[in-house]
Point group: C2
Chain length 378, copies 2
């Protein structure tokens, strides 16, 4: 089961609202996708994930292949039953781990060959192989509602020639992934991945090529690996007009507060980012324009010790209703795990609330106004 319905189109930009229907329910788009690399949105229970307004989260194929292993998750009846979460889940392909593990040149954890990738576990050094077919097979065992083709995430900065070779690999792998997927007759929805680094010709070529294949949706990769926000904007301007309108578009690994407005305005439907959860565990609390257009503050700082206000006086989340900055400051300073939890919950709720406001603004044709309210005039 996979269906994407556009419910409203903005008048002055490619932004749109829609509904993605999956094997485990609906996602109203634009939607923020939380990250649960090791099958846990860190610190939160599945019930709290729902309460925070999160509609869908990412699980990490390579991480779960290593621990606990896809066969174990399959034995439990798949990832939904393993986690006890009945909503939509998306799994990545392992492509981003190939990229991120390969950045550690000293440890030499990754070797990319034409037909496969050799990776070493960062935990125990054990050797693992990944191919496009194997990624599809692992993702089938995990059982997420949306799965993604293995791609070669091009590093940045990069020469045109290297980016071209990398892109060709991504495209060959896309075909191999599709073939493996077809053989499985899975009810999962497969997304292809557009790459091409910061080169207009490569990005456009990739957008056309991936669009020509029978994917259920299109992911745009490689814009979170070092490019500037300006470059991300350009990539979206090159790519999105070439994508089929009726397929959902996912932007991989992007989601700072200002990015969200940009990517939605350019026509992205879903996007994932570790920012709200990771910042939360570091004690960085999301808030609207707190002190001149900064969207977070550090709750661990001494002045907050005596601050009786909630984390965000405008927020309606459970944490902001129940606890003071002073108490949460104390929890962070004494390294109490409850602190990480409360900050994570608020941050997720904050981002999901913003994206909900964005959906409403698109429907009411006032996205520009909402953006100005949050980011000021450009």
């Amino acid at each position: 089961m996979f269906r994407f319905t556009i419910t409203h189109k903005a008048k002055n930009c490619p932004a749109r609202t829609g509904v993605i229907e999956t094997n485990h329910g609906f996602i109203e788009t634009p939607a923020f996708v939380a990250v649960a690399s090791s099958a846990s949105v860190k610190t939160l229970s599945p019930q709290e994930i729902t309460k925070s307004g999160t509609q869908i989260f990412f699980i990490n194929t390579f991480h779960l292949h290593l621990r606990p292993g896809e066969n174990i998750i399959k034995k439990f009846g798949g990832i939904h039953k393993f986690i006890n979460w009945d909503g939509p889940i998306i799994s990545d392909s392992g492509g981003f781990q190939i990229f991120s593990l390969s950045r550690d040149k000293e440890k030499n954890l990754v070797k990319i060959y034409e037909d496969h990738v050799e990776l070493r576990s960062p935990w125990d050094g054990s050797k693992h192989f990944l191919t496009p077919q194997k990624s599809i097979s692992i993702q089938k065992s995990l059982g997420a509602d949306i799965i993604i083709c293995l791609d070669d995430c091009t590093p940045y900065p990069v020469q045109y020639k290297t980016a071209k070779i990398s892109l060709e690999r991504t495209h060959r792998w896309a075909i191999l992934s599709l073939e493996a997927y077809k053989k499985q007759k899975s009810t999962q929805a497969l997304y292809g991945v557009v790459q091409g680094s910061v080169f207009e010709s490569l990005r456009k070529k990739s957008a056309k090529f991936i669009s020509s294949l029978p994917f259920c949706g299109i992911a745009i990769g490689g814009v979170s690996v070092g490019e500037s926000k300006e470059q991300m904007k350009k990539v979206l301007e090159w790519v999105i007009p070439l994508l089929p309108e009726n397929k959902p578009r996912h932007l991989l690994g992007v989601g700072e507060i200002d990015d969200i407005f940009t990517l939605v305005q350019k026509g992205v439907d879903t996007f994932d980012c570790v920012m709200p959860t990771r910042l939360g565990r570091m004690g960085h609390i999301l808030i609207k324009e707190y002190k001149s257009k900064k969207f977070s503050y550090d709750i661990t700082k001494i002045p907050y010790a005596t601050d009786k206000r909630p984390l965000d006086p405008l927020c309606k989340c459970w944490v902001c209703k129940k606890f003071s900055r002073g108490y949460i400051n104390h929890l962070f300073r004494t390294k109490e795990l409850l602190g990480y939890r409360l900050a994570t919950y608020h941050n997720l709720y904050f981002v999901n609330s913003l994206v909900k406001k964005i959906r409403e603004a698109i429907k009411g044709d006032r996205l520009e106004k909402l953006k100005e309210e949050w980011l000021g005039e450009e």
Copy 2:
């Protein structure tokens, strides 16, 4: 507001049920007291503390004096508002920290003088003084419902002579504490502390002396610092018959599963122990007689990775309803914070459920039978 009402007395032993009424509600006794040293029952929200069946928890005077400081908590309107917990809270005196910090001979963190104790912070080495009067004053600022006299917790093993000197100090401090408490005209309930190590004459002397003073309740200290379970039993047999029947009796720092039956049978009303929460964070899951009279198992062990059963198939807690051993094993093996939380919750629920069963058994005059069901025949 402080009142203790005995609701039922066992026929064959000094066990009894009762209700302690405090400024923040009732405690049905016998009751387990959870530990929230730094103003957090580690990993859990106040709502979950209630749901786990916990009626009351301990906060730590010395820890909170150092971080965030009692004056900050006072500014928030006291510990209940600071934590956002509306139920009963008990604070210790700092006596146990004097004892536990002094065990680290190398760091030399504690110096005990006749009229005061000098302690160094284990976090930053800063110097702090504690006197009986100052402990009462800090506990007033914290605002717990029940507070405790500063005592000199005698180390073990110990010579009679040293234990006697230590006990005399505890008794002098008890009088100084009472005087300070009276001056404050506080509505908090003050408990005195019986010490005397493993010496019958000292324990009896202490029981009589502390009973002669106008305390609201009596705490029994020093039985968790190295003595055997047999010695604990003896101490309770010496002390409890000498205590006034109409005052609640708290046993400090004891609460292993088999201890609970012993202490209740000997006439203890409340008792605190870090065991369920600390074991939980280590992955040790409480369960009834799992593999021949062991009351816990290690969820991190490999065989549990594929175990679809709940942590405890007989348990009705939220965690056991929702999650499998396999998932919780995975959370521990990947160090996901949710794992510590789920194990902590189950363990607290488990102990509170057992103590509830014990209350019911006392009322139904079948405590012996319940004990046999759990521990086997003696």
